[in-house]
C-alpha cells in the first residue's frame, strides 16, 4: 500500500519537477529549432507513457494487494490485448522516429552556399581557420606541425596562402548566415559543443568531421569540449561570438593570413638590447630577477610566452585587476614597447641571456608536491621546462616566489579571469585544485627539485 502511494508521489513529483525546473535547455541561438521540436514530441509521448503505465501499476498494487480470501485470476495470455498494446506502442515509436529522421535529413544536407570555417582542437585548447579570399582551405598534415606552424599548413599549397589563422580560443561568426564548421583534431578526440547551437560533433584525429548551422542570436557563447580528452578535458574552453557582418569582418581582418605569419621576421636581439635597458632596472641585467622588487626571472623563459604576456599588459588583459599590485607596475613598462616588432626584439634579446636557475626560497614538502605536479606536468612537461604547443610556460628554475604569487592570483581570481586572457582561464580552473597555501608551497618545492 505504501509503495503504491510512494509511486504516485514520485509520478506527481517527477511531473512537477519537470514543469517547475529552472534547469532546462538554454535559449536556442541557431536555426535548429526543429531539434527542439523533436525533443518536445519525445517529451509528450514518453511523458504520457510514463504517467499512464506507472499510475496503472500503482492502481493495480492497491486494488489487487494481498487478501486472504481472494485468488488471483488465471489468465496465461490475452492475444487481443497484447496486439493492441504492441500496435499502440508502434504508433508512438513512429510518432517520434519520423520527425527525428526528417530533421536528421536536414542535418546531413549542408546548404551549398554555406562557407566553411575550421575549428582545430588539441589538448587542451581551440584555434580556428578561415579560408580567406579564395574560399578554399589549404591542405594540412600532421607532419607540417611545428611551433612556427601550429596549424600544420602545407607550405606548398597555394590555397593555404590566404587562409586566416586564429590562434585564439575565441571564434567569431556572422549572424544569420549558414556556416559549415569543419572539425579537425591534432591529437585525441574532442567535441565541439555550444549548448545554444544544439548541434555538436566529435573532432577525430585523422578525419575531418563537420556540422552546419545558422547562428540566429548575437552574443558570446561558451564552447566546451564534450569528448573526454585527458586530464585537462574540463578546462578546454573556448567561446563563440555571434555578431553583425561588419563587426565580424573587422574582427577577421585583424588576424594574419598564413602567408603573413610565415613571412614574419624573427625578432632581432641586437635591436632588443637597448629596449631591455628599461627592463633590466628591475629584472636584472642578466634577466635573473630581483625578488626585492617583485621582478621575476625572465632568462630561460620561452620567448613566445614573454611576448604573449607583454601583449596582455599592453592590451589591458593583465595588470588591470585592482589587487594585482605588481602587475600594475608592468602596464606602463609594456607600453614603452611601441609595436609588435619591439616586443619581438626584446623577447629575442632575453633569449640570449644565460639561463641560471633562480635560488630556491620556498619551503615545502616536495614529496607531497610531486603527487600534485602530475596534473601540472600534463601541460608544463614532466621536467617543468614548459611546452609551447600546450601554451604552457617553463616553471623549473624560474623564480619560485613568483610561481607562488601567481598561483595565488589564479586561485583568487586576480589573474585568469579577464576575457581576453585566453589561456589563463585554464590555469584558474587548475589552480583551484590547490586547496591551501601549504599545497601551493609543496608544489613549488617540488618544482624546485626539477632544475
Amino acid at each position: 500500500m505504501v509503495v503504491a502511494i510512494v509511486l504516485i508521489l514520485l509520478i506527481v513529483g517527477s511531473v512537477l519537477f519537470h514543469l517547475l525546473s529552472p534547469w532546462y535547455f538554454t535559449p536556442i541561438a541557431s536555426n535548429w529549432t526543429t531539434i527542439d521540436d523533436t525533443i518536445s514530441i519525445t517529451f509528450w509521448v514518453t511523458g504520457i507513457v510514463f504517467v499512464a503505465v506507472n499510475l496503472f501499476m500503482a492502481w493495480a498494487v492497491i486494488r489487487y494487494r494481498y487478501r486472504k480470501d481472494r485468488r488471483a485470476e488465471y489468465e496465461p495470455e490475452n492475444k487481443k490485448l497484447e496486439w493492441w498494446l504492441t500496435g499502440l506502442t508502434t504508433v508512438g515509436i513512429v510518432a517520434m522516429l519520423a520527425p527525428g529522421l526528417y530533421v536528421w535529413a536536414k542535418f546531413v544536407d549542408v546548404p551549398d552556399d554555406a562557407p566553411v570555417v575550421e575549428a582545430v582542437g588539441q589538448q587542451w585548447h581551440w584555434s580556428y581557420r578561415f579560408p580567406g579570399k579564395d574560399g578554399v582551405l589549404g591542405t594540412v598534415d600532421a607532419r607540417y606541425v611545428s611551433d612556427k606552424n601550429p596549424f600544420g599548413m602545407n607550405p606548398d599549397d597555394p590555397n593555404g596562402r590566404d587562409d586566416i589563422l586564429i590562434s585564439s580560443q575565441e571564434l567569431h561568426l556572422p549572424i544569420g548566415k549558414p556556416v559549415k564548421m569543419l572539425l579537425r583534431s591534432k591529437d585525441v578526440l574532442h567535441n565541439f559543443t555550444v549548448a545554444q547551437f544544439r548541434v555538436k560533433m566529435d573532432l577525430v584525429p585523422g578525419l575531418v568531421t563537420y556540422i552546419w548551422l545558422t547562428p540566429t542570436r548575437a552574443g558570446k557563447f561558451d564552447l566546451l569540449c564534450q569528448e573526454l580528452c585527458g586530464i585537462g578535458h574540463f578546462a578546454m574552453r573556448g567561446s563563440v561570438v555571434v555578431e553583425e557582418e561588419a563587426a565580424f569582418q573587422a574582427w577577421l581582418s585583424r588576424h594574419p593570413t598564413f602567408a603573413q605569419t610565415s613571412a614574419q621576421a624573427a625578432g632581432d636581439a641586437a635591436a632588443g638590447k637597448p629596449l631591455y635597458a628599461a627592463c633590466a632596472a628591475c629584472h636584472g641585467a642578466q634577466g635573473e630577477g630581483t625578488p626585492a622588487l617583485h621582478a621575476p626571472k625572465l632568462s630561460g623563459q620561452g620567448d613566445w610566452y614573454l611576448k604573449r604576456q607583454l601583449k596582455y599588459y599592453k592590451q589591458g588583459a593583465r595588470g588591470t585587476h585592482d589587487k594585482d599590485v605588481f602587475g600594475k607596475v608592468m602596464v606602463p613598462m609594456a607600453a614603452t614597447l611601441v609595436d609588435d616588432a619591439a616586443i619581438d626584439n626584446v623577447a629575442a634579446y632575453i633569449k640570449t641571456l644565460p639561463d641560471r636557475p633562480a635560488p630556491a626560497t620556498v619551503k615545502g614538502n616536495a614529496s607531497n608536491g610531486k603527487q600534485r605536479y602530475v596534473t601540472c606536468g600534463a601541460c608544463h612537461g614532466a621536467d617543468g621546462r614548459g611546452v609551447q604547443a600546450m601554451n604552457a610556460p617553463g616553471l623549473a628554475g624560474m623564480s619560485d616566489w613568483y610561481l607562488v604569487t601567481q598561483l595565488k592570483n589564479y586561485k583568487q581570481g586576480i589573474r585568469g579571469t579577464h576575457p581576453q586572457d585566453q589561456y589563463g582561464v585554464q590555469m584558474a580552473l587548475m589552480a583551484a585544485i590547490l586547496r591551501d597555501d601549504q599545497a601551493v608551497n609543496d608544489l613549488v618545492a617540488y618544482i624546485n627539485t626539477l632544475r
Binding site: W23, E77, I93, A142, L228, F234
Partner: protein, 592 residues
C-alpha cells in the same frame, strides 16, 4: 480436470539425459575452494564480484564528493578523478554486473531450475571462476603500478587511452586491457557451460517453452555475451599492440603535446565500432537476466502466472537479436558517416517495441493478481518503475536528432544509470531476498529489507531523476569541475550537492543489506524448503540448501510450465512444475 496447465501436454517423454557422473570432492579444498559444484562456484563469483563492486561504490562516492563539493577534498585531483570515473564504470559494468548475473545467478539457478545435477562441464566451470579471479586481481594490480590505473573513461577510446595527458597511459592501460582479455577467456569457459547445460541437461519434460523466464534471460544474455565479448577481445588485442609495438590499427598521425608520433593512418572510429559492437549487447547482457528474474519474482509474489509467457520469451529473443544491429547509436556524434544515423535510429527505436511489451506484461501480471508486498516484490516494483524511466529516456538518446544535443551530457549518465545500473541492481537485490532462503535455509530479515529497499529505491531516484535536467541544460559529463560558464547557473552547484548527499545515503544504506546478509545467516528465521510457495524446481529439492547433486536420488520430472499459480479448481494457489496432472497423479512422487 480443469486445472491442467494451459500448455500442459501431460506427456513426459523418457529421460534421454544420462545421469551425470558427478565429481565427488575428497578434500576440504576440493569442496570449498577448488570446487566443481556450480552452487559453490556461484557463491565464489558472488563474493568476488560484490567485493570488487564495493570498491567501485567507494569510487562513486569520491566522484560525487568532487562534483557536489568541488575544491574541498585535496586528495581528488583531475587525474585521479578520471581514474575513479573510469574504474567505477568498468568495474560496475563488467566485473560486478556481468559476473554477478551470469557467473553467480547463472551458476546457482540454471542447474536447479532446469532440473540438472550440475553444469555439464564442471571442471571448466571451476576454471572459469579462477580465471575471473585473475582478471579481478590484474585490475586491482593496475591501481598500484606507476602512474596508476587508466583514466581513459570506461570506453577506453584511443588515441587518448594510450597517450600522455591521460592518467595511467603507461602501465594502467596495459593491465586494464590484459585484465579484460583474461576476463573474456574466463567468461567464455563459463558461458559454454551455461548454454550447453540449458540445451542438453534439462530434465524430463522441461521443454524450452516451460523454462522459467529467469533461465531464458540468463541463457539469452550468455549467448549475447559469447558473441559480443570477442569484439572487446579483438579491440583489446589491437590496442595493446598499438600501445606496445607501435602498430597503427586505431592510431592516426598525431601531434601529441607538440611531439610528432610514429603512428599513421589508423582509425579511432574503428575502435568505437568494435567497442560498441560489444558495448551495446553488454547493456542487454546485464538487462536480460534482470528481466527474467523480475518476471519470476512478480509471478511468485503476485500469485499469478506471468502474463503472456510466449510473448515474453519471444521478446527476450528479439531484443537479443536486435541488440547486435543498434550499436552505432552510441556514435551519432563520433564522426562516423552521418548517414548511418538513419539506419541506427530506426533499429534502435524498433527495439523499444519488444522492450515495451515486457513492461506491459509485468504490469499486467500484477493486474488481477493477489499481491504480497514483501521485500522481493517491492524490489520488483522498484525495478519496473526505474526501468520505465530509464527505458523512456533511452528513446531520447536512440533517436539521432534528439541525441545530438544530449550526447556527452549528464543526461546520458542519468539515463544509463537508471536503465543498466539501478534497475538491474534492484533486480539483483530482489533476487537475493527471494533466493537467500534456498541458498542458506534462512529468511532475510524483513524489516531490515524494507529499510534497505526504501533508501535504495527512493534515494536512487533522487540521485538520477534531477540529473537528467543538468543534461538538458548542457552540463557535460566527465568534467572534474564546471568552473565558470555563462549558461550554467549557480543553482546547478546546489543540485549537485543535493545529489551527492543522496548518493552518500544510498551508499550507506547498502551497509544495512550487508548486515542483514551476515546476521540472517546465523540468526534468520528458518525458511523451510519452499517459503514462497513457488512452482519452479529449485524450490522442490529434497534438501535446503540443496546438497551436491541437487535433487537427491532421482531427478524431478516436469509436467507443466513454471507459472501455474491460482489455477482454478486446484486445492492450493500454486502447482509445482513436477506435479503431474491429476489423471497421471498416481505415479507422482510426494513433494518434499
Amino acid at each position: 480436470m480443469s486445472y491442467v496447465a494451459h500448455d500442459a501436454s501431460a506427456f513426459a517423454p523418457p529421460a534421454e539425459v544420462r545421469e551425470v557422473e558427478l565429481y565427488h570432492p575428497k578434500t576440504w579444498l576440493g569442496k570449498y575452494v577448488f570446487s566443481q559444484d556450480a552452487k559453490v562456484i556461484a557463491i565464489q563469483y558472488a563474493i568476488t564480484a560484490i567485493s570488487i563492486g564495493v570498491v567501485a561504490l567507494v569510487f562513486s562516492w569520491l566522484i560525487r564528493l568532487q562534483l557536489g563539493f568541488p575544491n574541498t577534498f585535496s586528495f581528488i585531483d583531475p587525474s585521479n578523478y578520471l581514474q575513479f570515473v573510469t574504474q567505477h564504470g568498468m568495474i560496475m559494468v563488467i566485473y560486478l554486473l556481468t559476473a554477478l548475473f551470469l557467473g553467480a545467478f547463472g551458476n546457482y539457478l540454471i542447474p536447479l531450475m532446469i532440473g540438472a545435477r550440475d553444469m555439464v562441464f564442471p571442471y571448466v566451470n571451476m576454471l572459469s571462476y579462477w580465471v575471473y579471479l585473475v582478471a579481478v586481481l590484474l585490475l586491482v594490480a593496475s591501481f598500484f603500478v606507476p602512474g596508476g590505473a587508466t583514466g581513459a573513461g570506461w570506453t577506453l577510446y584511443p588515441p587518448q587511452a594510450i597517450l600522455q595527458g591521460t592518467p595511467g597511459e603507461s602501465w594502467g592501460i596495459i593491465l586494464m586491457l590484459v585484465s579484460l582479455a583474461v576476463f573474456i577467456i574466463g567468461f567464455t569457459m563459463g558461458g559454454l557451460n551455461y548454454v550447453v547445460t540449458v540445451l542438453q541437461a534439462r530434465t524430463r519434460g522441461m521443454t524450452l517453452m516451460r523454462l522459467p523466464l529467469t533461465v531464458w534471460g540468463i541463457f539469452m544474455a550468455t549467448i549475447l555475451a559469447l558473441l559480443a565479448f570477442p569484439a572487446l577481445f579483438v579491440s583489446a588485442i589491437m590496442m595493446i599492440l598499438d600501445r606496445t609495438l607501435g602498430t597503427s590499427f586505431f592510431m592516426p598521425a598525431i601531434v601529441s603535446m607538440g611531439q610528432k608520433l610514429e603512428y599513421a593512418g589508423g582509425s579511432p572510429v574503428l575502435f568505437q565500432h568494435l567497442f560498441w559492437f560489444f558495448g551495446h549487447p553488454e547493456v542487454y547482457i546485464v538487462a536480460l537476466p534482470a528481466f527474467g528474474i523480475v518476471s519470476d519474482l512478480l509471478s511468485v509474489h503476485a500469485r499469478k502466472n506471468i502474463f503472456g509467457y510466449r510473448m515474453m520469451v519471444w521478446a527476450i529473443v528479439a531484443i537479443g537479436g536486435l541488440s547486435f544491429i543498434v550499436w552505432a547509436h552510441h556514435m551519432y556524434v563520433s564522426g562516423m558517416n552521418p548517414y548511418f544515423g538513419f539506419f541506427f535510429a530506426t533499429t534502435t527505436l524498433i527495439i523499444a517495441v519488444p522492450t515495451a511489451i515486457k513492461v506491459y506484461n509485468w504490469v499486467l501480471t500484477l493486474w488481477r493478481g493477489n499481491i504480497h508486498l514483501n521485500v522481493p516484490m517491492l524490489f520488483a516494483i522498484g525495478f519496473i518503475f526505474t526501468f520505465i524511466n530509464g527505458g523512456l529516456t533511452g528513446l531520447f538518446l536512440g533517436n539521432v536528432t534528439v541525441d545530438v544535443p544530449l550526447s556527452d551530457t549528464m543526461f546520458v549518465v542519468a539515463h544509463f544509470h537508471m536503465v543498466m545500473a539501478i534497475a538491474p541492481v534492484l533486480a539483483v537485490f530482489g533476487a537475493i531476498y527471494h533466493w537467500y532462503p534456498k541458498i542458506t535455509g534462512r529468511m532475510l530479515d524483513d524489516t531490515l529489507g524494507k529499510v534497505h529497499f526504501w533508501f535504495t529505491f527512493v534515494g536512487s531516484y533522487a540521485i538520477y531523476y534531477p540529473m537528467h535536467y543538468l543534461g538538458f541544460l548542457g552540463v557535460p559529463r566527465r568534467y572534474y569541475a564546471i568552473g565558470g560558464t555563462d549558461f550554467i547557473p549557480e543553482s546547478v552547484q546546489s543540485m549537485n550537492a543535493g545529489i551527492t548527499i543522496a548518493a552518500l545515503i544510498v551508499g550507506a544504506a547498502q551497509m544495512v543489506f550487508f548486515y542483514n546478509l551476515v546476521r540472517s545467516y546465523f540468526k534468520g528465521k528458518p525458511s523451510g524448503g519452499n517459503p514462497w510457495e513457488a512452482t519452479t524446481l529449485e524450490w522442490q529439492t529434497p534438501h535446503t540448501p540443496p546438497t551436491h547433486g541437487n535433487f537427491g536420488r532421482e531427478l524431478p520430472v516436469v509436467y507443466r510450465w513454471a507459472y501455474d499459480f491460482s489455477v482454478p479448481g486446484a486445492p492450493q494457489d500454486f502447482i509445482p512444475q513436477n506435479v503431474p496432472p491429476p489423471e497421471a497423479a498416481t505415479g507422482a512422487r510426494d513433494r518434499a
